[in-house]
């Protein structure tokens, strides 16, 4: 009997939902019904593992590969789908599309598509938290590509000298748009750079949701206790291209095959079956449930009207 109280089953449900959402978007794009997106397929364990370690009053900054973070935080798939399809009932009235979705009600503030943009904004959000009171911390998701930007240095340095409560999460997915990180940096990973700023850091297998959750929980506790920043690197892999459509012809097939075997959803299913927590039928039921949720989300988005043309110039100035 499946029990939804088991935290790893909840994680599988959420990861399956994220995968179904992004595969639905890819399908919609292929049929000309949605714009192309930057998916996070293969990175679901990182999103779910970190977000599940947060409290309701923590604030999140994310980037162009944000679907996992938003859905893990409890975003409504229908409103997300409506946003990506440019409809009025999207989280941002259809003005964001897939790339800059923020959802203030979920504490997902300030999504920037400029690589490293979220790093530039995070210290200010944490400064507000510090000066206006409250226990909440700030979590800033960025990729290994953003760690090559100058803003990475500026942000971590300022957060360290100002004692800002920020958990920096570098989702190292090995790819920086169309370039493998082996071509752009000699460092083995990103976490070691924390030491240069006098900051604590850690690296974790980003495809093992339990390991991510444990590492993130420890990091969150440290930030909450010390009110100082922490750099957590989740080592994962971008299983699809930079932007849909992308045939990934530039990807080494052997490397891709190795990481497909380490698909975080495949790993988690196998583990739950091996441990006798779920059987194959129950796993299929989780997948079917996610598909039904997506059918409803697409129907919701389809039924939502496009924004009125007055939205062309509304919300520009406060």
């Amino acid at each position: 009997m499946m029990t939804t109280t088991h935290p790893l089953v909840q994680a599988l449900e959420r990861m399956t939902l994220i995968r179904a959402y992004e595969e639905t978007l890819v399908d919609l794009h292929g049929r000309g019904r949605a714009a192309g997106t930057c998916t996070s397929v293969g990175q679901e364990a990182s999103a779910v593992g970190v977000i599940s370690a947060l409290s309701a009053d923590d604030l999140i900054l994310t980037n162009h590969r944000s679907a996992g973070h938003l859905l893990a935080r409890g975003a409504d798939p229908g409103r997300l789908m409506a946003e990506v399809m440019g409809r009025r009932d999207g989280y941002c009235k259809g003005k964001s599309g897939s790339l800059h979705i923020s959802a203030k009600e979920l504490g997902v503030v300030l999504t920037s598509t400029i690589v490293g943009g979220e790093l530039g904004l995070a210290p200010g959000v944490a400064l507000s938290r510090s000066m206006l009171g409250g226990e909440g911390i700030v979590v800033c998701f960025f990729g290994d590509g953003a760690a090559c930007e100058g803003r990475f240095h500026e942000s971590l340095n300022l957060a360290a000298v100002w004692n800002l409560p920020i958990l920096y999460v570098c989702e190292n997915n090995q790819w920086q748009a169309f370039v493998h990180r082996n071509e752009t940096t000699l460092a083995d990973g990103v976490a070691a750079q924390a030491a240069a700023y006098g900051m604590a850091g850690a690296s974790v297998d980003g495809n093992d949701v339990e390991a991510v959750h444990t590492a993130a929980s420890q990091a969150v506790a440290a930030v909450r206790r010390t009110r100082k920043p922490f750099l957590l690197e989740t080592r994962t892999y971008r299983l699809r291209g930079h932007f849909e459509p992308d045939d990934q012809s530039y990807v080494d097939p052997a490397e891709l095959a190795r990481w497909r075997e380490r698909d975080p959803i495949v790993l988690l299913r196998a583990r739950l079956e091996r441990d006798g927590v779920l059987d194959a039928e129950e796993i299929r039921a989780i997948e079917a449930q996610a598909r039904r949720t997506m059918d409803r989300a697409v129907a919701f988005a389809d039924a939502s009207p496009y924004p009125g043309l007055e939205e062309l110039t509304s919300d520009v100035y406060a």
Binding site: L61, G94, K95, S96, V125, L132, N157, L158, Y317, A318
Partner: protein, 320 residues
């Protein structure tokens, strides 16, 4: 009326607004070092030095503004804004719109520019029009101590990102400033001198050049109306059009380069809305399409001077 310099007017506005609103804070390179009085009155948390990193200073302002604070940041010299363009233009200027209005960015960015200190083009470059062309941000560039104080107070209270430029040559000039809490609304030009024959539109230090030229023109019986834009965005088109419909002649004067500058914008607005009132072509007097040199005579020649403004006005009247 008090008598104070532009720099003192800026300091007074900062202190008054910090006293009035506990969410106002100020940070930047050397801010806490130079403004000890503010540190003493408001504490180190609200008056901060930063690393030499304009991008993260502006980004931190944007992040703080979106989540409840009202930051003022000093980026020192306008050309340094190139390091902060992403945070100002892509984040503060666009994320309110892109988020469907979920966030506001009440922040002020201070920067100095203009001829007068012989610092050359990497410290002196009038880039204000770049931001006029950027959605979601406002641009202010005053010319008198009273306007510096009153407009900075409004800029701090405004819920949008405001670029607030100080002309380097004006910092130590003084003038009358009203006592007390006087905020001057953004988006209102000032008619500094009335006249019926020609309209001189300007902002920042060249306003004073226009006033000198207007004085000389008056001696020759020519009535020049001088308009100080004060706020470049939103632009007070009503005041410009009212004047041009009266005089039929327009000279726009600024230190920034001509192509796609404020002069081009003002000329276009007049062409669109007051064409039939024009009795002569619109003239622009601007800095050249060149980096500013450090050498004093070259630096001064960069700026439209009173003689040239007077000559332009006379040309429009066929009275050269």
């Amino acid at each position: 009326m008090l008598q104070m310099t532009v720099n003192d007017a800026v300091s007074a506005a900062l202190a008054e607004e910090m006293r009035r609103d506990p969410t106002v804070l100020v940070f930047g390179e050397g801010v806490a070092t130079k403004r000890r009085d503010l540190v003493e009155e408001f504490g180190a948390a609200r008056v901060r030095n930063t690393p030499l990193a304009e991008g993260i200073i502006a980004g931190t302002a944007a992040g703080a503004a979106a989540t409840g604070l009202r930051p003022v940041v000093d980026l020192l010299f306008a050309p340094f804004l190139t390091y902060a363009m992403d945070e100002i233009v892509n984040s503060a200027g666009k994320l309110r719109f892109l988020s469907g209005g979920q966030f506001a960015f009440p922040m002020v960015v201070l920067a100095q520019t203009g001829a007068g200190w012989g610092v050359g083009a990497q410290h002196n470059h009038n880039v204000e029009a770049w931001f006029v062309h950027s959605p979601g941000v406002k641009v202010v560039m005053p010319s008198t101590p009273a306007d510096f104080k009153g407009l900075l107070k409004s800029a701090i209270r405004d819920d949008n990102p405001v670029l607030f430029f100080t002309d380097l040559a004006l910092g130590y000039t003084d003038g009358p400033v009203p006592e007390g809490d006087v905020a001057i609304p953004l988006g209102q030009a000032a008619v500094l001198r009335e006249g019926n024959d020609v309209t001189l539109v300007s902002y920042a230090k060249t306003v004073h050049g226009c006033m000198q030229a207007a004085g000389r023109l008056a001696e020759a019986g020519i009535g020049a109306e001088v308009i100080d834009l004060r706020t470049l965005k939103p632009l007070d088109t009503a005041t410009i059009l009212r004047s041009v419909r009266k005089t039929g002649r327009l000279v726009v004067v600024h230190e920034a380069a001509g192509p796609c500058g404020l002069g081009a914008e003002v000329a276009a607005v007049v062409a669109e809305h007051a064409f039939t009132h024009l009795r002569a072509p619109v003239l622009r007097l601007t800095g050249p399409d060149a980096p500013a040199a450090a050498s004093f005579p070259l630096e001064q020649a960069f700026v439209p001077q009173p003689d040239a403004i007077e000559a332009a006005a006379r040309r429009l009247l066929g009275a050269s």
